[in-house]
């Protein structure tokens, strides 16, 4: 099987857990498990944009995945017939949908439609339902096609068979279009579907806003929002504002972020934990420690309970702006409030300590962290390696590097550069070459980046030696 839209992914993984033999005996399409969108994003957005009526889950039993090997229609029909004749049980609709989906992954839209027609003819008990059409729709949205002709074809087919597109249909179409990067078509299709059938629901709307934020200029996003407001009366909600604020904060456009926060309260929304976290992150990016604490205080005043992300952001921001003592204080506050500091918390704090030159303190914190049962990640080690090299504790740094190497951890650019520089400064060029080899071999950096660093470091150390500066 080829690609699945992200919204299907969790559905697939859950279906994998179901025993395939029991699947055929399920008589009706069961209520789908709620798919979790944005699986990679932090929980803050996914929790709220989870779509209750998003695409019906289409389970593909593992053995069907590789069933269709050839995109030719005649082969597919033959295969389908053999499946029907081989199974003694009545095939249920889910199996049909799965078959159709696995064929759609490799065939053209036209052929998939033909296969569906063949299925209807060949097995009289099968009557396609909404999710069947959604399979085709999702495929047609991904087909390379500059006009929306295939999409229209499938939609017409749906309407002719008496299945009117609803919000779930819109959601399937929009997500599939977004995943193939056709943002202009998305806006056009929303216009069309809203006038003819069904407007998108809040989840789809926020999904589009989020996707546009990632791929287009801010003006396009605002145009979309205004258009939706004027034509459909859809207003941005708290989640939309969170997405927008997050986006402008990421581009360090804090003025716009503050404007949005102003609008947010004008519109009568009460900022929640996620909004505050996002604003806090914005201040962190600009290393404005006192504002970060300000946001935290305001949260407390407004009675919004800070969560783990809040504390992590707070500690990160304070460490970044050089207020390590305060950051350390919040580590204790956080633990008192019942949150368990994780690797991110500790790493941020260690980073701050290393910046201040308190590398020994950072090492002590590593011990403390491990004692509390929190295991460090590669970022933690990179931070420490960087810090150790900066504070000229090369031996300890080499020890740490050996440990990282033995557990196949990747080196980060800054840690790598500092480490190579420290080795060269001590005249241990061969070891620097060895680190270079490891960086290339472990694919920590690109060959070019690794080499450029090595070359410029060597050039610098030669010059320094000529002037009698280094060893």
């Amino acid at each position: 099987m080829g690609k699945f839209p992200p919204s299907f992914r969790s559905a697939i993984s859950t279906s994998m857990a179901i025993n395939p033999s029991s699947l055929a005996t399920l008589n009706s399409p069961s209520i789908p498990p709620k798919p979790l969108h944005f699986p990679k994003k932090p929980a803050k957005v996914s929790r709220k944009t989870q779509n209750p009526n998003s695409p019906e889950s289409l389970s593909v039993p593992p053995q069907l995945r590789s069933l269709f090997k050839s995109p030719h229609l005649s082969d597919a029909k033959k295969l389908f017939n053999s499946v029907v004749s081989a199974s003694k049980l009545q095939l249920d609709i889910r199996l049909h949908n799965s078959l159709l989906q696995s064929y759609a992954a490799i065939a053209t839209v036209q052929d998939s439609i033909s296969l569906l027609n063949h299925m209807i003819k060949a097995s009289p008990s099968f009557s396609p339902d909404r999710s069947t059409y959604h399979v085709l729709l999702s495929q047609s949205c991904k087909a390379p096609d500059t006009l929306l002709s295939h999409v229209h074809q499938v939609l017409n087919l749906m309407v002719n068979k008496g299945v009117t597109p609803n919000q779930a249909t819109v959601d399937v179409a929009i997500r599939s279009l977004c995943s193939s990067g056709r943002e202009d078509d998305v806006i056009e299709l929303i216009r069309e579907l809203s006038s003819k059938h069904s407007p998108p629901d809040g989840y789809t709307y926020n999904f589009v806003v989020k996707h546009l934020c990632k791929t287009r200029a801010l003006a396009t996003v605002y145009n979309f929002i205004y258009e939706m407001r004027d034509s459909l009366g859809m207003k941005p909600d708290l989640v939309t504002y969170t997405i927008l604020i997050d986006n402008v904060c990421n581009t360090k456009n804090l003025r716009e972020a503050l404007r949005l926060v102003g609008i947010l309260s004008e519109e009568g929304f009460k900022p929640d934990c996620f909004v505050y976290n996002t604003i806090m992150k914005g201040y962190c990016m600009l290393s404005r420690g006192s504002e970060v604490v300000g946001v935290y205080k305001r949260m407390k005043d407004e009675g919004v309970e800070p969560d783990l992300v809040t504390y992590n952001t707070l500690i990160f921001g304070l460490s970044k702006s050089g207020r390590v003592k305060d950051a350390r204080k919040y580590l204790d506050i956080m633990e008192e409030a019942g949150h368990f500091p994780d690797a991110v918390t500790y790493t941020s704090l260690m980073n701050g300590m290393c910046r201040e030159g308190d590398t020994i303190g950072a090492l002590r914190l590593l011990e403390e962290m491990e004692a509390k049962g929190c295991s460090p990640n590669s970022c933690t080690y990179n931070t420490l390696l960087h810090g150790l090299c900066k504070s000229r504790l090369l031996e300890k740094g080499i020890e740490l590097y050996q440990m990282m190497k033995s557990s196949d951890m990747k080196l980060e650019t800054a840690a790598y550069a500092t480490f190579v520089r420290s080795l060269c400064r001590e005249g241990r060029v061969a070891e620097a070459y060895e680190v270079f080899d490891y960086a290339v071999e472990s694919k920590s950096l690109t060959d070019v980046a690794a080499y450029t660093t090595l070359e410029s470091t060597l050039k610098w150390s030669r010059k320094a030696r000529e002037q009698g500066l280094a060893v």
Partner: protein, 100 residues
Amino acid sequence: MLPQRMKKAIADNPKKVANLIDLVNLPSTVREFVGQSQISRLGCFMRVWSYIKSNNLQDPNNKNVVNCDEKLKRILLGKPQVELTELPALIKLHFPKEPK
């Protein structure tokens, strides 16, 4: 010590990167060593360095020094010994700047 920002600038500079990875027609001496008529500066460095490693040419007493064998000597200005520190610079000599 190179400041962080400057180093980043080198890695991001497309011209510098091109200078590293563009294939260059080689002079006959280097062509003999690498066995092909074109190679990038980065590729050449990797080739020489792996040659040094696989033939154990590093001085056992001082790993920072390479005792050149005949083959290596030919492309590194005929020096019997080179330091690892100067290796990139020596290889760079075979890749002159393109005239504008």
